[in-house]
């Protein structure tokens, strides 16, 4: 098991009812983690439109997770 911090932004904060979560997981990748979180969330955001970042860098859905990582799930931007 590893300990990570998860950040949610925009409408994903509403889906997961929080903006920040200290989380323990056995998930190995960002994809595994996302699937694990889906089992706990109300509603199912479309993954195609979501970007994922680790430690302030965009990564892909097969990126490995390490103990102490901060993982962010980002819906489509709506600035401007």
């Amino acid at each position: 098991m590893i300990n990570i911090k998860i950040l949610f932004f925009g409408k994903l904060k509403d889906t997961w009812k929080t903006s920040k979560l200290n989380y323990q997981t056995s998930s190995k990748t960002t994809e595994d983690l996302y699937q694990e979180l889906l089992t706990k969330a109300i509603g199912e955001p479309h993954k195609d439109s979501i970007k994922v970042a680790i430690n302030d860098e965009f990564v892909n859905w097969s990126s490995p997770l390490n103990n102490g990582d901060t993982v962010a799930f980002l819906p489509p931007a709506s600035g401007g």
Binding site: G10, K11, L74, P76, G79, G80
Partner: protein
Amino acid sequence: MKLFNLSENKINDKQLKELVLDPNSGGFVCFEGWVRNNNQGKDVTKLAYEAYNKLAIKEGNVIISEAMDKFTIKKAICTHRIGLLEIGDMAVWVGVSAPHRDAAFKACRFILDEVKSRVPIYKNESWTDGESGWVEQE
């Protein structure tokens, strides 16, 4: 100095313009995005922008670098507001100076479009019916 920034305070567009003007440039193009009182059929009273600050600043500066590579321009700067904004407040400012107008117009449009689609900034609108919600990009 970073060329893309987030600001919790009102955007000082005069100061930004001073930073973009360049003696080698014959053209300056600027875009200002303001908060309007309606969106997607709803009457808007105010809005809040929140961002993933570190990643937003990083990605915004990547976009400015891309514009510098892609177009024959001299300087480019963009600032986006975060926090609570009222109707009429400036939400985003993009300024580009270039030797000739065509590159300045194109680069300004490129920066704005890319910032809107790639920089993790999120808009939460409040409406006259008392409700509020996250807004999807049109």
